[in-house]
């Protein structure tokens, strides 16, 4: 019975665990940390500069958008689209550029100062620095 209980607990824990999402920037960026509020400002396009440094968010196909928007930014996809619509149709900016794969997005972040994106914590590698987790 005890083993069965432990097995059930393990399964529930596994099912309930979601990949941890972190926000990354190039390792040589002067930005070392971003707050949740700053991420909201940056990803909704209301801010492009943090502590004097230009920051541009990017995304990629199959990015875990809903989890990032909901659990990190505290917004729904619909709210983000409404924010981007306001930017786009007033000539103030574009939604985050979408790259074709995580690999391409990672390469862009490493090579272009100021680009940030969100990835699974396990995918952080050389050349990247975590600025929010």
């Amino acid at each position: 019975m005890s083993r069965l209980f432990q097995l059930c607990l393990f399964i529930i824990c596994c099912l309930g665990t979601q990949a941890e999402i972190v926000v990354v920037i190039a390792a040589d960026s002067p930005i070392s940390r971003l707050s949740r509020a700053q991420l909201v400002e940056v990803f909704s396009g209301r801010t492009r500069m943090v502590n004097g440094v230009t920051i541009t968010p990017i995304e990629y196909i199959n990015a875990n958008r809903d989890q990032f928007y909901q659990h990190v930014l505290g917004r729904t996809s619909n709210q983000m689209r409404a924010a981007w619509a306001k930017l786009l149709f007033t000539g103030e900016g574009q939604p985050p550029r979408e790259f074709s794969s995580l690999g391409e997005a990672r390469s862009q972040v490493i090579s272009a100062p100021g680009l940030i994106t969100y990835i699974d914590a396990q995918q952080v590698g050389p050349g990247l620095k975590v600025v929010y987790q």
């Binding site: 707050s35 440094v53 924010a83 786009l88 103030e92």
Partner: protein, 422 residues
Amino acid sequence: MRSDLCLPILASLLLPVALAEPQSKLQLSGFGSIAATRTDDDAIAFKRSFQSRANSKTWAFDADSRLGLQLDMAPSDNWHGVLQVVGMQREKGTFDPTVEWANLAWEVNPSWRLRLGRMVTPVTSSSESRDVGYAQLSARPPLETIGIYPMVGHDGADIRYRHSLGEGEMRVQMFAGQTRYKLPFLAYTVDKVYGAAINYAVNDWTLRYAHTRLDDARATGGSYVTTIGSLLPSLNAIAPYCVNVECSDLIPRINRLTTGWGGRFNVISLSYDDGNWNLMSEYATRKVNTFISDARSLVTQLGYRINNFTPYVGFNKVDSINRQQPVQFVVSDPAQQANADILAAIVSRSLLFPQAAIRNVIGLRWDAHRNLALKIQVDQVKHKYPQASYTGFYVRTTAPDGSLVPYDGKVRVYSISADFIF
């Protein structure tokens, strides 16, 4: 540059660049609203101030329905062109497209941007996105603050500067240009539109202040000009004999409608959005040197998101600071007094429209599908001067004999809309 020359020149500058450059990025997108409105009173109809047709107690799609198409061009990282055409019911009562945005922007560096062409004047926090229903929480932008400014856009230039300040970002935008604008009863040419907007965004809060000025605005056509043109010889004949301030002040102001008038507009806004709670409050003032009333308005809106549903409430108020009551002209020559009385009555009835009103709002936004929001809204409006002949957003209806249908000063406006982007 004349505004009718500006667009073809700008288009000719943009398109060859976009088509010739292999790395050019062209993107077509759009937005729209299919929206029905009605009032609960045959005596009063609802419309936008620039529209001809108003609608009272039957459902109609005239007031808020629109379709916008936008072409974005980015020939390089630092250059961006935008062309936006929006179709809706306008001053002739027909669904007409108008170029709302047509400009070329140069990002000099991350801090500075220079923009040249046609743009919407950033008078209030929602002026620039006024047509994009999907970007707004409620069924339409706050008419009390947007309506305090009589124009929409300008052809000219603006400079924007961004700067990190504390945990947030400050944006300063300075603009200047000229414009033309048509209302159902009036056409304007404005030689000088200029001002500045300062915006500070930090931790879910945004504080904004904008100051806009109009100079050398001249009415060039429309029934209003005809009415005033027929009155002015008589008004100017009694002007030298004016004794009271209403007479000596108002007659030159009426003259300025066609000879050139100016206005000052101040708007301060505060908004908060943490993903669940959404608050927007805005206070606006208008001061003009023609006979149109000075005004002040306050709008406040609060919403709370529950999954894909966001119920919201609003309290809005607009007041005419002057021109609330019929005017009286007192003249020094007794022989002219009877004539002055008649002219004062005509001016009061034909030219002075006090806009004082309180509007309470309750509504619901439902993000029903990706890129689609459905909204239902009820506006409870109470006009302070129900006897006035309104011309802005609310229009008194006339009986078959031409008289105004009696109005008790209270009206509800019901709205149902589907706002989308693509």
